[in-house]
Amino acid sequence: MTRRLAMWALLLAALALAPLLFSKGFAISLLCQTGILVIFALSYNMQLGQTGLLSFGHAVYYGLGALFSIHALNLGYVPTPLVPLVGGAAGLVFGLLFGYVTTRRAGTTFAMITMGIGEMVAACSLMFPAFFGGEAGVSGNRALREPIAGLTFGPQIQVYYLVALWLVVCMIAMHLITRTPLGRIANAVRDNPERAQFVGYDPQAVRFHMVALSGLFAGIAGGLAAVNYEIVSAESLSALTSGQVLLATFLGGVGFFAGPVVGAIVVTLMSTVLAAYTQAWPFYFGTLFLVMVLFAPGGLASLAVLQKRLWEAGALREAFAVYARLAIPVAFAVGAAVLAVEMTYRGVRTPGAWLGAAAVLVVASWATRWTWMRSRDRWAVASTALEAKARA
């Protein structure tokens, strides 16, 4: 309990101090963007991680929340810091509405219905341009209201602290939901719906509640996005946004509360910092995602937890010996692959460069394989220690 409180205190301190460390305008807006995506990804994980529902249309709640928020901002009845609540309310209402329809089935059917609803709402944006803003989107101005306690929310730093405040509120709320009976039963429904039903819970009702709640938080994230960017376009409703939050959540790890947080940070960093260096960043991102799906379905968080368990079992030294051996050939293979991608993108046609890259790639891949074959024994030592520890 004290450890958990210490974690939250650390988070609060980090959020409060972050703008002092990264004081450049770009860094502050990056932090705002990350905070919004963290809330969005955590809300997505309420469905995928906690309840076992794979959704392809989560952007619906985010986008509608953002649209209602930007209209609320423009109408001016709601003070700026509370605008995300409008988004949350919209997300909750649509969560109740669509959740009622979608949660009648689980599994693949749920995935397909959410995709259908996502496409439907996105297509609606062309039918009602007055509300959805058409091609140009809806723009607003967050600094028009009377200042509250001297805060106009014009400067980005004030928006940062607003995002940070909502981030902490939402994170605590979502974390507490995981510990309520509803949150626990959602896990039961995810793992074994028949058994949950036999014990007397209605899986459909549990899924419905979780989808509605996750709509609420996605709507808050959308509301914050409306305040932060001061423009909401149809893209925030699109399959692209749904895909992005799915990729971020899964990449971070669906089994852990910290997973989506990590995923959101990685995605924001890749889409801004890496994008500043190479326009091929979505390719690297997609490749990373596929590699994770194939080799570490638990996401980045599961890899971190694995190291922690290895350390607890006293086998981290063995594991690191394997990592150290693999690091060099893997680095060469990745380097050669990156070189090939960049040459493709820049249209390099020199045969020598291509042959060189291909040669390095082949040799390094072969060396990786060879090293892995020779390191298997040491890896086996580490994993045996891990299993022994788990059994004890």
Partner: protein, 298 residues
Amino acid sequence: MELFLTSLLNGVTYGLLLFMLSSGLTLIFSMMGVLNFAHASFYMLGAYFGYVISTHVGFVPALLIAPLVVGAIGALIERYGVRRAHASGHVAELLFTFGLAFLIEEVVHLVWGKSPVPYKVPAALDGPLFTVFAATFPTYKAFMMAVSVGMLIALYAVLTRTRVGLVIQAALSRPDMVEALGHDVPKLFMLVFGGGVALAALAGVIGGNAFVTEPGMAAAVGTIVFVVVVVGGLGSLMGAFVASLAIGILQTFAIAIDWKVPGFERLTVSQTAPVLPYLIMVLILIARPRGLMGTRET
């Protein structure tokens, strides 16, 4: 009458193209039980490969080579990707194909850029075939229809009249039994996946120049193909055929009608056209989850 006839012909052409895409998806789904989200991406790859091959050696070789090459890529992806992801469960498999669709789009961006490529209808098939009232019917559309129908007949013949088809049909419903009888089911999976992907690529080769070959073309048809497969009934080829035609015709008709939607000031039927397929899909999934002719629930 003129509007009716042209819309019908356009709808049937579009519907037949949709069927080419959805037949492969249906085959793959019935065998593996997983929806391939990257299916439309192979359609796009087919179009791009068709463009590259046809500029070098001509359209007719492209019609053969491109589906074979893309089908081979598909088979390799099944062998080293889908099969591995399947070991971690259905969600991982679904996510794998989803990530694959994302990645293929990026590869297309990298290799061919973000703007459309000049993939043109071959000169021999360019031009009007016959005239309906004042509107002309292009030769290429007739060619597309012929290829689709030919493919339908060939697929039906392979599935019902050949030994491989019989084994595939048996493996669709009783893979364990087929395995016990000494057939290599994993290899069959690879064959069916590659075959389905090749069908999608064929649709790309003949659809890419009729429409536009650009990086967004997979996303444009990707979800519609899902609608077709779900409405027709997962796993039912006949259902996919009926649903393809129905949705193709419905959409082309809706676009052509400019009536006002009752109760709305400025909304016309043609503006609602993009929503209609999804509305139908959601209603079908709620009311009859196995689709029009499907035999199993999603």
